[in-house]
């Protein structure tokens, strides 16, 4: 038996390090690795499930070709790349390179993903997407205000006297943070949780506040007004480091009384919150991503962030606004959110025309050339894009679809060719994190089964067959030793990053500020924290100041009275992991969740099959009555496969957020009804 240290490359805050034991070429055990200060106790159920995931019988390990009967049949890697290179050459020649769409998701992070862009640049520039389905409104809000997106090291929240967890549920989505929250509480730290759902995180708080959906900005700005009125702001800090405070102060028109009407939170509670925030000492805000998946998402994050700014909770221990910590994103020329919508002029020959939030509609609209083919990696756009019906329609119109994946996902089912994807233990790669401050190496420790090839090798072969002539410094030759050489070269120039050190365990990111902005250097146009941002106005056409904008709900409130949310859950990372036996065994069955009162009103019993619908679409699902769901809301967790009654995105209109080209998933409303037994 051999043991290695590796790191989880999923789209998740934690990016856990763990030890992995290998016997006879199989992963047999996952154990914690104490050398990572952010995740010393080890990974969550998903991390543990790699024992099954990497040995799963359901994994695709040979290329599959859709036969004329509609079923998939196994073909060799040679045959698959012959067909793909022939097709791609044909579309490029006859319709132009942008008749092919290259779509990537966040399925696996790592530097080797760059080999894809090398190939597609050489291809001549396919149609690609801009924006992101997850977090960009908030990223942009933080960038506009602070100049960059970062926060203190995760374990610093132990030093807070007050934690304001706003729309985040680390108990399910960032469980290692719960250890630090617990330690802070042991030392007497108070915890406020503001959320729509009564989550496990809320159970670990002193006060749980449940405002009307989408009104968080009003709540924050009412608190800001009390802080200003009662002299609880840090004026020395504001004078020195804040730009536009005067205008901001004048813009605070929402009184606690008005906020009570808007948010449903009593004015006394709002006042209590303000005093807690103003008087506690270091306060760390832990905002989530769900509350910025609204048409007012960016402005909401700016409003909450303003509370940390005017109380001076920036640049010191125990304080901060922990939206995302991109300090380990050292390899990017341009960091998110800017990299999500790079300047087209500067980025020739890429042609970015499709919005991730409006993928289906945008795909259907393409002309000159029309889209003919799609090449999909690390993603599951059929299930995960808003307005799934339109996305499905657009995919059906395509002549040729290639999907690279480990499992037969809802998107892979639409493919003409499926290429089996590597898993995290099969190719060496280097990853960062958006929460912890580490750069980590995940080594190749097992052989790839069947005819699985890493993307770098797929692209190498395609490039060769298509005669694109990409050089090996961009697209390394097959073989893990070549990848490691390529990676070593890639990290040259960072003196603190030595390949062999990374092999031993996580390394702190070069230039890390354990306490973000302790130097009080802000990379904004004014060099200060910008409560007033001209760029916000010019780039996104929103108020230069934070502000409360009522939701732009696409559905009729009377016809569709229930707010529809698709939050994340511990059992999956978006649509990954939900298919595994061990995950299904230990977590609740996939189901739409409804409050006790709403169920009673509709004569719905636990376990009924229900119809959920609005003007966008309709799905059928099992229902669970949940005491965690407030009256007036319905929850269907993100990432549930269609076969399990998932597909919440069929009910979600493709609408972009107010900034950052995110997707306003949570603006939608639905109605729900019990299906007759023969349903």
């Amino acid at each position: 038996m051999e043991e290695f240290v590796t790191a989880c490359p999923r789209n998740c805050y934690s990016t856990c390090s763990f030890r992995v034991q290998v016997e006879n070429g199989h992963i047999i055990r996952i154990l914690p690795y104490a050398g990572n200060r952010a995740t010393p106790e080890g990974p969550c159920i998903k991390g543990l499930s790699y024992v099954e995931r990497s040995n799963s019988e359901e994994r695709i390990i040979h290329p599959l070709l859709r036969a004329s009967t509609g079923d998939f049949k196994e073909i060799s890697f040679e045959e698959a790349t012959d067909i793909i290179s022939g097709k791609l050459n044909f579309y490029r020649r006859d319709f132009g390179p942008s008749s092919v769409m290259w779509y990537t998701g966040s399925g696996m992070s790592g530097l080797t993903n760059e080999t894809g862009s090398c190939f597609w640049r050489a291809f001549g520039g396919p149609t690609t997407t801009y924006g992101d389905l997850c977090w960009p409104a908030g990223l942009e809000a933080v960038r506009l205000t602070m100049g960059s997106v970062k926060h203190n090291v995760p374990w610093d929240i132990e030093n807070a006297n007050l934690l304001v967890i706003w729309g985040k549920n680390p108990a399910e989505t960032n469980i290692q943070e719960m250890a630090f929250i617990g330690k802070a509480r042991d030392k007497g730290c108070k915890v406020i949780v503001i959320d729509t759902l009564r989550t496990e995180t809320a159970e670990k708080s002193d006060v749980f506040i449940c405002p009307v959906i989408g009104t968080d900005a009003a709540l924050a700005l009412a608190i800001a007004r009390i802080l200003v009125d009662k002299g609880m702001t840090n004026d020395a800090f504001i004078d020195k480091y804040v730009y536009g405070y005067k205008e901001f102060k004048e813009s605070l028109t929402i009184t606690p009384e008005q906020a009570e009407v808007i948010t449903g939170i009593p004015r006394d509670t709002i006042t209590d919150m303000a005093y807690l925030i103003g008087k506690s000492g270091p306060v760390t805000f832990l905002p989530g991503y769900g509350l910025q998946r609204h048409s007012n998402g960016g402005q909401t994050i700016r409003s909450i962030l303003s509370l940390a700014v005017i109380t001076g909770n920036i640049g010191k221990t125990g304080a901060g606004f922990n939206y995302a910590n991109l300090q380990s994103y050292v390899f990017d020329d341009e960091k998110e959110p800017l990299s999500l919508y790079p300047d087209i002029e500067k980025d020739r020959p890429f042609r970015r025309i499709l919005s991730k939030a409006k993928l289906g509609a945008d795909m259907l609209r393409t002309k000159d050339p029309e889209l003919k083919a799609a090449y999909i990696e690390r993603g599951n756009p059929i299930l995960q894009s808003p307005d799934s019906l339109k996305v499905t329609e657009a995919f059906k119109k395509l002549d040729f679809i290639v999907v690279t994946d480990q499992f037969l996902t809802d998107t892979a089912r639409m493919a003409d060719i499926i290429l089996p994807a590597k898993n995290m233990f099969e190719q060496t790669d280097i990853i960062g994190s958006y929460w912890s401050p580490y750069i980590q190496l995940k080594p190749a420790i097992i052989e790839m089964p069947g005819e699985v090839k890493p993307e770098s090798e797929i692209y190498f072969q395609l490039s060769k067959k298509m005669g694109l002539g990409v050089t090996t410094d961009l697209l390394p030759e097959p073989g893990n030793e070549n990848i490691e050489k390529w990676l070593s070269k890639r990290i040259e120039g960072y003196s603190s990053l030595v390949f062999d050190d990374l092999r031993k365990g996580p390394v702190l990111a070069p230039g890390l500020q354990p306490i973000a902005w302790h130097d009080m250097v802000f990379e904004t146009p004014s060099g200060r924290i910008e409560l007033y941002s001209q760029e916000a106005k010019s780039k996104w056409d929103v108020s230069p100041m934070p502000g409360y904008v009522p939701l732009n709900e696409p559905c009729d409130k009377n016809k569709y009275p229930l707010v529809f949310l698709t939050p994340n859950k511990s059992s999956s990372i978006h649509s990954q992991f939900g298919n595994l036996r061990i995950i299904r065994e230990v977590t609740e069955e996939p189901a739409v969740e409804i409050s006790v009162k709403d169920a009673e009103m509709r004569d719905i019993q636990d376990g009924n099959i229900v119809r959920i619908f609005n003007d966008n679409g309709v799905i059928k699902c099992t229902v669970r009555i949940s005491s965690c769901v407030p009256t007036g809301s319905v929850i269907l967790h993100n990432g549930i496969w269609m076969a399990d009654g998932g597909g919440g995105n069929f009910l979600i209109k493709g609408v972009e957020t107010d900034m950052g080209y995110g997707s306003a998933f949570h603006d939608n409303r639905i109605e729900i009804e019990k299906l007759a037994a023969d349903g």
Binding site: T39, L48, G182, E203, S595
Partner: protein, 451 residues
């Protein structure tokens, strides 16, 4: 009195599970690690939740628990086949799957709901502390996997803090478990509370280890009748009809096999005769069956006397099986116990009015007590009422001496006793953490409503 005895020469466990409920968020990593490490087809570990209904005025408290490897292992003591043993190196209480009958007696005996019946393997699966990993330097998989540090494995201090866990059963067994955490003594303030459910909707606890219990009703009642028949014959100076008598004993024996997961291993049932009341019951049953059948077939009055004594001992052993498992002591005076039933059946059949009156009053008092002390559902209440009425009517018929006690009356009387036996099983609720959580939720919820 038969109680769980300490395994001889076993020092108290100095290490065990440490659990901090302040840190547990019900993430299930412990359960997943347990299954992945050991390939279980059951889930030996459970995260119990107090106030899973999330009543706004009560704290929500999680408790991850598997087997506590108690210093006084009642599962081991009760196990008839000797399949449960203490692993010498680690002190772990382990089930030997090759010896387990699947009788599920340990499920009754364990108040922590630790042993699980594996429907595939038809035997018990239970946490074994990952005892094989210790030699390779590993601690139990669940404890190393906990991502928040809520569950760990280490040294147990003398006095565990159990403030937050009024619903933790039977600390007298000395579980190797130490509980810390206190922040959740107070409920989280929920604003606005009226968006969430204020009422306790759950109507029953989740305890479900009663499947196939009718087999035991039939088995024990057939024996009760059989022993009564032997004693009646002894008093009357006659012999029971041998064919019918032996057939009923054979049926009882066969019926008793039905609830076993592995019927072929039934021969192991008397193995743990030194400690297990169930082993004693089975041994006494075998002895009684052989003696009484021989006595009846060969018409040997002396042997019939011996077998009647064996029969009465068997009935006491049957009752002891349940007494041992029911540490709440709620059934100690239950009128449906086999010994009491046999006595009243004999006095009824032999027309002994005085003893009948005495036992009948005892039974009526006990039924009345049950009616008032147990949480009575409407269904149970009506069963008990029927049982009450049958005893009263047939009793008056017997005592008054004015009515003929024909076979129909006897049948009605015996059906009353069968009903009593059924009620015994309904009332027999061995202490179990699931019930305790439920009962405490009701108590706390009522308390809050009063305030």
């Amino acid at each position: 009195m038969i109680t769980g005895s300490k395994l001889k020469n076993w020092p108290p466990m100095d290490k065990g599970f440490l659990f901090d409920n302040d840190r547990c968020v019900d993430c299930k990593a412990c359960i997943a690690a347990c299954i992945l490490e050991n390939g279980w087809t059951v889930k030996p570990r459970t995260v119990f939740t107090f106030n899973n209904e999330r009543l706004t005025y009560l704290p929500v408290i999680n408790l991850s628990m598997a087997c506590n490897h108690c210093e006084i292992p009642v599962c081991l003591d009760g196990c008839p086949s000797g399949a449960i043993y203490r692993h010498p190196g680690t002190g772990a209480i382990v089930v030997d799957e090759a010896k387990c009958l699947g009788c599920k007696y340990c499920i009754w005996n364990c108040p922590y709901d630790a042993p699980k019946f594996d429907e595939n393997k038809r035997v018990i699966g239970k946490c074994h502390l990952c005892y094989n990993g210790f030699s390779e330097g590993r601690i139990p998989a669940c404890t190393s996997a906990c991502p928040t540090g809520a569950l760990s494995f280490g040294k147990l201090n003398d006095i565990p803090s159990i403030k937050s866990f009024p619903w933790l059963p039977d600390k007298k067994l000395k579980p190797s478990l130490m509980l810390t955490g206190h922040a959740q003594d107070k409920a989280t303030t929920v604003v606005p509370a009226d968006k969430f459910e204020p009422e306790l909707k759950k109507t029953t606890a989740t305890n479900n280890n009663r499947k196939g219990i009718w087999v035991l009703v039939l088995f024990t009642y057939l024996i009760t009748l059989s022993v009564s028949a032997v004693l009646k014959s002894l008093i009357d100076g006659t012999f029971p009809q041998p064919g019918l008598f032996c057939l009923s004993i054979i049926i009882a024996g066969l019926v008793s096999l039905l609830h076993l997961g592995r019927k072929i291993r039934a021969w192991r049932a008397p193995v743990n005769i030194r400690r297990s009341p169930l082993s004693r019951e089975i041994a006494a049953f075998i002895l009684y069956s052989v003696l009484s059948c021989v006595a009846v077939i060969l018409r040997m009055p002396g042997l019939l006397l011996v077998s009647s004594a064996a029969g009465l001992i068997l009935l006491i052993f049957i009752d002891a099986v349940y007494y041992f498992a029911d540490r709440s002591r709620k059934i100690i005076f239950h009128s449906g116990q086999t010994f009491l039933s046999a006595l009243i059946i004999i006095s009824f059949l032999t027309n002994n009015v005085l003893p009948f009156l005495f036992i009948a009053l005892l039974k009526l008092a006990s039924s009345f007590f049950s009616m008032t002390s147990l949480q009575e559902t409407m269904k149970n209440f009506s069963l008990r009422f029927m049982r009450f009425a049958i005893l009263l009517i047939t009793g008056v018929m017997l005592i008054s001496g004015r009515y003929e006690i024909n076979n129909i009356v006897i049948l009605v009387f015996l059906s009353g006793e069968l009903l009593d036996r059924i009620l015994f099983y309904i009332d027999f609720k061995p202490v179990n953490i699931n019930d305790l959580i439920y009962n405490n939720e009701i108590i706390f919820s009522n308390e809050k409503k009063r305030n």
